[in-house]
């Protein structure tokens, strides 16, 4: 007993020693030798993360995203200096954020550029395409977003699910073709989510957050996590939940996460005054997302019809669009959006792997014409409908 305890202590010690040495090294570099390592000139950098238009005031959230502490000296609107307030204070250490309040009688729907000048006279700016009153959570607005979420998320997925009886009557080869279409659709959605995440990270996230690597990290973690969870789910699948139901469930969770990201993007776009959500755009999303219903329906097609389960999966896949729109519209944060999009992408890639694994169980494996054609068709259909959005 004694010996095992001491050997355990030794193990822990062996694990901890490098950490202690590293900590000492960091402390040394920051402390006594910090002057030695200061080559070059460190330039201040700030990022304007959010601009809200409220009553007679423009509110700006700014973050220090540079290598050194900064102090904000001045605010301007359209490059004209205006007295302003900054809360909690004008000194921002690394990664610290503050809110700048600029009293300003802004005009709705006009573009504005907000600039902030730091202590060395460098001006940083961010533009808004069209000023729109900041959305304060209200029942009216919440229900408006809910309606949009329903149109964009739930309804199209439900419509897509109606393909189930059609798919159920297909021959095995044709069925495989439709499953492969699902794979194509999902691949497209996954790539789309990654692309969207990268776009937001380059447009709205400061370089110091390593947005691209954030996307990569979250995609991989989400993939691994869901892969593990789905293996558990599928291996335990018996009786009530069959393997195909388990896969369909995973598909709907993946699509749900994707729609959450989509809802976030829509809500944020409205909130940031970037688009007026037109009927055309809604129609685009509706058609585009109908294909997602197909993706859920396909794995279930060989089952006895289970209306309740199917409807539940439709909700899992579609309803997050509503939550996304709420979060995006009321409390937009680029980091949240990127994380959700990346989780969705990881989830979708996991589902793709699951379905492909499932299809491979057949004697012909993956190398068959219907599968190749299906994946291609899925991608192409998604691309064409994406043009509508």
């Amino acid at each position: 007993m004694e010996t095992t305890k001491s050997s355990k202590t030794k193990t822990i010690l062996a694990g901890v020693v490098p950490v202690i040495i590293l900590a000492a090294m960091v402390a040394y570099l920051f402390g006594p030798s910090s002057d030695l390592l200061n080559f070059g000139v460190s330039l201040p950098e700030i990022t304007i993360e959010r601009i809200d238009f409220v009553d007679s005031e423009i509110q700006v959230v700014v973050r220090n995203t540079g290598p050194i502490d900064v102090s904000i000296a001045q605010a301007d609107v359209n490059d004209r200096i205006h007295p302003a307030a900054i809360e909690p204070d004008k000194y921002l250490s690394r990664f610290e954020a503050a809110t700048v309040r600029i009293p300003f009688e802004w005009n709705e729907a006009e573009p504005y550029e907000i600039g902030l000048t730091v202590q060395d006279g460098t001006r940083f700016s961010q533009s808004v395409a069209a000023a729109a009153p900041a959305m304060k959570p209200s029942v009216e607005l919440a229900s408006y977003f809910a309606v949009i979420g329903t149109y964009v998320g739930i309804i199209p997925v439900m419509i897509g699910l109606l393909w189930l009886p059609f798919i159920a009557k297909l021959s095995p080869t044709k069925y495989k073709f439709f499953l492969a279409i699902t794979v194509g659709l999902l691949l497209f959605l996954g790539i789309d989510a990654v692309e969207e995440g990268l776009e937001i990270s380059s447009e709205r996230l400061a370089g110091s957050f390593n947005g691209q690597l954030l996307v990569a990290t979250v995609v991989v973690c989400s993939f691994i996590g869901l892969y593990y969870a789905s293996e558990k789910l599928v291996s335990r699948a018996s009786g009530k939940i069959t393997k195909s139901v388990a896969i369909a469930l995973m598909v709907s969770i993946g699509i749900g996460l994707h729609n959450l990201g989509e809802g976030l993007a829509i809500g944020a776009a409205i909130g940031l005054g970037e688009v007026a959500l037109s009927t055309f755009l809604i129609i685009g999303f509706t058609i585009h997302n109908t294909t997602e219903g197909l993706a859920i329906a396909a794995p279930m097609a060989r089952q006895k019809p289970m209306i309740a389960k199917l409807a539940a999966m439709g909700l899992i896949a579609g309803a997050p669009a509503i939550f996304g729109a709420w979060i995006g519209g009321f409390q937009y944060s680029p980091i949240y959006t990127i994380i959700f999009l990346a989780i969705g992408a990881g989830a979708i890639f996991q589902v793709v792997v699951s379905i492909m694994g499932w299809m491979r169980q057949d004697e012909k494996g993956l190398l068959s014409a219907p599968i190749a054609a299906g994946i291609a068709v899925g991608m192409i259909v998604m691309y064409l409908t994406s043009i509508l959005v």
């Binding site: 007679s56 200096i81 007295p83 307030a85 204070d89 990664f95 503050a98 309040r101 060395d120 001006r123």
Partner: protein, 340 residues
């Protein structure tokens, strides 16, 4: 297995906390003390945070536009054998000074005698002006005076080395008027925009009418080096005279020596509220060319404005290029009741 799931849950909690920190960064260290400030349109705003406003208070001024306005340097005066007056000046150039040119904004100003603009050199027509120039900067500098002088006194082909290099400029004051002086080392734009300039006034032998005299150098600063000015001003500090109005008397003649040295922008101008002024381009003729409330000046153009206010109260003066006005080139005259 248990330890593993514990680790996972710790990881998840840490991630959530970190995310929340980034999303809601303002939750901590809120202050309760309320401060107030006025907007340019007069609205009163309250805040618990700091105020970002170009209001200069006496404590933070490194360069005092209030003092500069009416400060004239007549030099060390002596009489030459031929009866002429000799005026000797010393001007020291520096290029390492960090100056707060607007509240919270620090800029590497290049200076003559420690300030931007440099001292206002003043002499009477015919005086001998002798300027001992010492360059204590790290780069080459000169002083190029506008006016009439020998070619070798022009401050162009006689660069003065940094670290204590010297040169003595000597010329007879003339012609009558108001002239700029500035460094003439290439790149000229860099040396002027950093602040190496000042005013040089030559008075006529028969003095001008008694007046309340002041100098305004219209300038600006490109603090982010994108060849566009971030700040504009009369006498360096943006909005200074708006927050510290220039006090003048009603029914007293006011004479403003104005020089536009503004770099990067094509033009500048000067608009006076509630009044018009007689304008003497370059101050060289005794007859005004215009009676107006608005003159346009390109870089290096200058002149003398003369006016008298009848009614007391606050009157704006500013660039009628409103962009410049809204970036600092705005001031106020406070006309006081004549003392009984």
């Amino acid at each position: 297995m248990k330890a593993f799931s514990k680790m996972i849950s710790i990881l998840v909690v840490t991630t959530i906390v970190a995310t929340l920190y980034f999303v809601y960064p303002n939750a901590s260290d809120a202050k309760n003390e309320e401060k107030r400030f006025l907007t340019h349109t007069g609205a009163v705003i309250q805040t618990t945070g700091d105020i970002l406003d170009p209001v200069y208070t006496a404590q933070t001024v490194e360069f005092d536009p209030g003092k500069y306005l009416r400060e004239f340097s007549y030099g060390r005066v002596s009489t030459l054998e031929d009866g002429r007056t000799l005026r000797e000046f010393t001007i020291i150039a520096n290029d390492d000074k960090i100056m707060e040119i607007s509240p919270g904004v620090f800029y590497n100003a290049w200076t003559f005698n420690g300030t931007v603009p440099g001292p206002t050199i003043r002499a009477t027509e015919g005086d001998l002006v002798r300027i001992k120039f010492i360059n204590e900067g790290s780069k080459l500098h000169t002083i190029h005076f506008h006016g009439i002088h020998a070619a070798e006194m022009d401050g162009v082909f006689e660069p003065v080395g940094g670290g204590g290099g010297q040169f003595t400029y000597e010329f007879e004051a003339g012609p009558v008027g108001v002239h700029p002086y500035h460094c003439h080392i290439m790149p000229l734009e860099e040396h002027i925009s950093h602040g190496l300039y000042g005013a040089y006034i030559v008075d006529p032998k028969v003095p001008r009418k008694q007046a309340d005299e002041m100098v305004m150098i219209l300038n600006g600063f490109d603090t982010d080096f994108d060849t566009e000015n971030n700040f504009y001003a009369a006498n360096t500090i943006p909005f200074y005279y708006q927050h510290h109005p220039i006090q003048i008397n009603a029914n007293e003649l006011i004479r403003v020596y104005v020089i536009n040295i503004l770099e990067f922008d094509q033009i500048n101008n000067f608009h006076l509220h509630g009044n018009l002024y007689d304008y003497y381009p370059s101050g060289t003729y005794s007859v005004p060319s215009q009676y107006t409330d608005m003159i346009t000046l390109s870089q290096g153009e200058r002149g003398i404005m003369e006016f008298t206010y009848t009614y007391h109260g606050k009157y704006l003066f500013h660039a009628h290029k409103t962009e410049f006005a809204e970036k600092g080139w705005t001031g106020l005259f406070l006309v006081k009741e004549p003392e009984a």
